[in-house]
Every structure is written in C-alpha cells, then in structure tokens.
C-alpha cells in the first residue's frame, strides 16, 4: 500500500514538473458529445503545439445554463446551435471576431456568411448543419413514417417505444409543426393546444434521452427515436434497421456554430482553432465523422462519397423545407418553460 502511495505521489509530482516545463499554449473547448473526431483534435495539437481540453454538453440549454452558472471565462470556444447563438449574443456572452482576424473566413459558403442568428458573422463560424426529425425501426413498423403523428400521436405498435430528445427547442418546434401553429405563438388557445398535445403524447414516450439517442435505436430499446439526421445515419450504420423520416408537416433544420466566448482565457488559440476548422480538409473530417454537412466551400473532394447518397442527408423531392427554431420573447418562452416542466414531472 505504502509503495503504491509513494509511486502515486511521484507520478503526480512528475506531472506538475512536466506541466511547468512546457508552459504551452492551451485551448479549452465546450462541445457537444460525440461530435468531433479525436484524430482531428490530435492533428490540431500537432500542427500548432496547443494543448486541447474539451468538456461536453448534451443540449443547447444545458450549455447555456452551465456557462451562466459561472463557466463563462473558463472556455475559449463553444458550439451552440443557431437559435442559441442569437440568445448568447443577446446575453452578451460572445466576443467579437475582428475584421481580418480569421484568415480563412473567405471559405465560408456564401449562404452561411450573413445569417439571421449572427448578422455578418461577427461572433461565429459554421460548424455543421443538418436536420432534426425522427428515425423509425422498420422491423417494428412498416407504415408511412413521414408524419409527425409517429411521435406525437403514435399508432398502437409504437406506443411506449419512443425516445425523444431532451431538447426543449426541438421538441416544441416539431410539436408546433404537428399542430400547424406558428412557433413562439403567444395566442393562448394555441399554447393550450400545444400543452395538451404534449401531455397526451407523454404516456406514449419511453424516455427523454439525447446522448443515448443513437444507442436506444441500435439496441432496440426504442422503435422510434427523435434524432439529428447524422446521428440517425450513424445508428443505421451501426446496424439498426431504421429509416429517417421527412414529415410532411415539416421538420427542424439547424446549424451548429463555433463561437468565440467572452473572456476566453486563450483567445489567440481560439482564433487558430476557428481558422483550422475553416480549412476544407479539416471540417470535412468532422462531416465524415458526424455525417452532417459543412458550411465551408471546397469540402467535396475530402468527403466520404457515401455521404452524397445518404438518405438522412438527401430529402425526397416532395419533402417540405425544414424550419429553424425561433427565439421566443420572454413571456412566451416562460410559458414554454412551464409546459416543459409540466411535461417532465
């Protein structure tokens, strides 16, 4: 025991010495779970000599909560979704990227340069974009799946076998699309309808799970899983006999973005990291890993050719366009929050 303790202390001391000797540049990332290949982080570290550390979150709201609870100032970059970028700008949590600071800014695809959630791209760069709907196990259910009622008013075969994302924004938007009411509506009747829909649907849902959204489909715990398109593609690649739905009522589109956080302890490293991710070859590695789409020009030659025909990325011709999650005003958002609490209690 004593020798073990001594060895432990020696090892600890060595780590400190090594740390002091290097005193190298660092980068602290706050990222979604399972969303960047380790090899890419290693490549960045090898190219720049910057030591990378990463913490993960499983919903935009959880990230916001954690940053507000005192983590702002300990991370350099985070990867919020579109509407969350807008919220974070409003909360004053993002730093501004100066003109000319990013050498590779010109690589951003024109359609993603000036976006409503970050006009003029002052604080963010594109990371990946994709859609959110749900995948259905075709062994369990053979009927038409391109309908939001699969989740919100499910047929008998699927009742009790549904996993929904633990993500308020997406669950609420898909519900609103199902009812055909506008997002962030402050019409009381419509809000009551939304609440009633969620309450009626909940008994049919087995679980709220985001970081396990892929696993429950692969393991068969869930026959329907609300899921992000690339994550659904990965579940299918891991052997689940599932099909990704493009509901006729509509579905969610989103873009995740790398943002420069306010009070970043290693601002220079953050800028280097953003430039690194704007290199087509590097961001293509993310796309090949996560199975979404990049918002950067020139990635095509680096992409896995199978991505071009991946059903999760190619909506059928008759599918409607997707909808971005909107940022509601405070009064409406507070009703949404109440609904969410009532839903999960």
């Amino acid at each position: 025991m004593r020798t073990l303790l001594k060895a432990g202390i020696a090892a600890l001391a060595l780590t400190f010495v090594a740390g002091a000797a290097q005193a190298q540049e660092k980068l602290s990332i706050y990222h979604w779970f399972e969303y960047i290949p380790q090899e890419l982080l290693d490549k960045f570290a090898a190219e720049t000599g910057i030591e990378v550390t990463m913490d993960t979150f499983d919903s935009n709201e959880a990230m916001l909560a954690s940053l507000k609870a005192g983590k702002l100032g300990s991370y350099d970059v985070a990867v919020p979704g579109d509407y969350m970028v807008e919220i974070m700008i409003g909360e004053g949590m993002l730093d501004t990227i100066a003109e000319g600071e990013l050498a590779n800014r010109g690589n951003i695809e024109p359609q993603w340069v000036d976006v409503p959630f970050d006009p003029g791209r002052m604080h963010s760069i594109p990371y990946q974009w994709g859609s959110t709907s749900f995948s259905v196990n075709r062994d369990v259910y053979q009927g038409d799946i391109n309908d939001t009622s699969i989740v919100y008013d499910p047929p008998d075969e699927l009742k009790g076998k549904i996993n929904v994302l633990d993500s308020q924004g997406e669950v609420m938007l898909l519900a609103a699309l199902h009812l055909g009411i506008p997002q962030c509506s402050n019409d009381r009747e419509q809000l009551k309808q939304l609440d009633a829909l969620l309450q009626a649907a909940k008994p049919h849902w087995a679980s709220f799970n985001s970081d396990g959204a892929k696993d429950v489909l692969v393991s068969g715990d869930a026959a329907v899983g609300m899921i992000w398109n690339g994550f659904g593609a990965k579940a299918r690649a891991e052997g689940a006999n599932i099909e990704y739905a493009y509901p006729r009522q509509g579905y969610v589109v989103w873009m995740d973005n790398v943002v420069l956080l306010k009070d970043a302890p290693n601002r220079a490293s953050a800028i280097k990291f953003m430039d690194f991710l704007l290199e087509p070859e590097n961001i293509a590695a993310v796309t090949n890993f996560a199975r979404y789409a990049a918002g950067v020009e020139g990635v095509t030659p680096h992409l896995d050719p199978e991505l071009a025909s991946q059903p999760e990325s190619v909506p059928p011709a008759d599918a409607p366009a997707g909808t971005f999650v909107a940022v509601c005003d405070q009064a409406t958002q507070e009703v949404y929050d109440t609904m969410w609490t009532r839903l999960k209690k």
Binding site: S59, E61, A62, L64, A65, S66, K68, A69, I87, E91, N163, D166, S167, Q168, R188, L191, K192, D195, K202, W205, A206, S207, F208, N209, S219, G220, D221, Q330, Q333, E334, V335, D337, T338, M339, W340, T341, R342, K344, K345
Partner: protein
Amino acid sequence: MAGELASTRAVSRTFAPVRTPLLIPTWVIIGFFLVAPVLMMLAYSFLTKEFRGGVIWEFSLAAYDQFIFDRGLFGDEPPQIEWTYIVIFVRSIIQAAVATLLCLIIGFPTAYFIATRSPATRSMWLFLVTVPYWVNLLIRTVSMKFLIRDNGPLNEALMGLGVIGEPIALINTDFAVQLGLFYSYLPFMVLPIYASVERYDFALSEAAADLYANRWTILYKVILPIVWPGIVAGCILVFVPSLGAFLAPDLLGGAKNFLIGSLIEEQFKGNAGNWPFGAAASMILLSLVLIALFIYARRQARRSAQAA
C-alpha cells in the same frame, strides 16, 4: 447508547479536553463546506428568477409559491394546491425508503456473514464488497442499464431458460430506478453494520442460548439492540443519497418522471433554468431531512435518559 459512548470516550485524560485552537480546522470545514453553501442556497431561494438562468437580487417568494400553488399555464388562474412537487417528493421518499429497506435486507446478513468469518478472510470479503465501487457511479449505472435492457443478458438468459416467453420491460421503469438505487448504495449499508457486528461479543449469543433463547430471540433481544447504531447509520447513509439521486432516474428511469434530485438538477442544468426554484426545492428537502433526524435524535435522547 449515547451515554455509553460518551463515557468510553471521556476516559482518556491525555486527549479529553480538546483545546479551541485545535478545533479551528473543524469549524473552517463545517463553515466553508456546510454552512456557507446552505446559507447561499437559502438566500437564492428567496431571490427573483432571472430569465434563462441566474438570479436577480430582489426578494421574492415566487419559488415557494410555485412549489405550493398551481396557477395554471399562464400563471394567472386562481391558485390551487400544486400536487406535482408533493407527488415528486412522496415518490422520491418512497423510492429511497424501499431502497433502504432492500439494502438492509441484503446488507445485514451480508455484514453478519462477513463479521463471522475468520479475521484473515474478512478483509477479503470487505474488499470484494467495495471493489465495484472503485468504478465511477455513472459507469456502474450505465452497465446496469445494459444488463436489464429488453435484449440484454438478463432477459436473454431468462428467455433461454424458458422462464419467460418475451422480454420483460425493465428499462425505463420505477423498478429499474429502484434497482439502480439499491445497487448504488449497498456498501453504505454493509460497512457500518459490519463495523458494529464485528465488535459484537459472540459470547453474549452463547449466554443467551444457554438461557434457552432460540435463534430468533437471540437476534431480536441480543444482537439487534447491540448493533442497532450500525443499522441506523447504514439506513441514514443509504436513505439520504437515494433521496437526492439523479443518475439512476435519468439513466434507468428514462428521465421521464422527476425525482427530487432530477427536479433540482433540471432547475440548474436543464431547460428550466429556474435557480430560485431549485434552491427552494433543496431547502424544503433539507428541512424535511433535518426535522426527521431531529425527531429521531430527540427520541434517542429521551430513551437513553429513561434507561439511565
């Protein structure tokens, strides 16, 4: 019982009067790690909620109001008693109580068994009890999830043996949460009971047997009263963390039905972002636990006074 302990402790003259300066570390630890955070939460529970997480430094009873009254979706209906959180608390207390009972039923015989082995094998048994707990609680909970899922080893084995025709749905049920709590906290029951059974003088059992006590009488009249402090300590150590657990309900229960722990977690980490309400719920929980412990301590004090 308390009287006995006090008297054995007071015997040593060398260590008896603890001087105030030596107490400073204790006070610092209690003050910094116990009193300060609780006071902070108490203060937060009376503040105004800030939109999207955080607090505004204005006094408000809104958090406690939300706990007690239901004012409808828009917050302007006439207040009714809010049953939601009461139900969550009762559900959590029942689950924690059942977990404690299960731990006791399995833990007491285990501890007794270990304590009655030869000293050399005892440490091996104790080691075996604690081995799984060197693994992170999250990992253990996830592996429990793998074991009990519909096409997991447990269901496959039962189906292979022909006990059941099709998989029993275990995952995402209250049973799974219960199982997770039981599994998470079992050693907290075994170790204190072991500590008191180990000190038990088995000559007392023999004496009782000589006086024609049967095995049950020996257990009830001799062993249990003597090892009682260990049982109480084990029950408290299992009950209290079970009450605030959120990993088991999240991972094994599917995060569908809040328990106290997950309800509070959601206020700080999740979508709700209502810090004062999370603080208020913690305060209410803390008050309940303190009241229960206080009543127990009073009863014990009265009992030992009577015995004296």
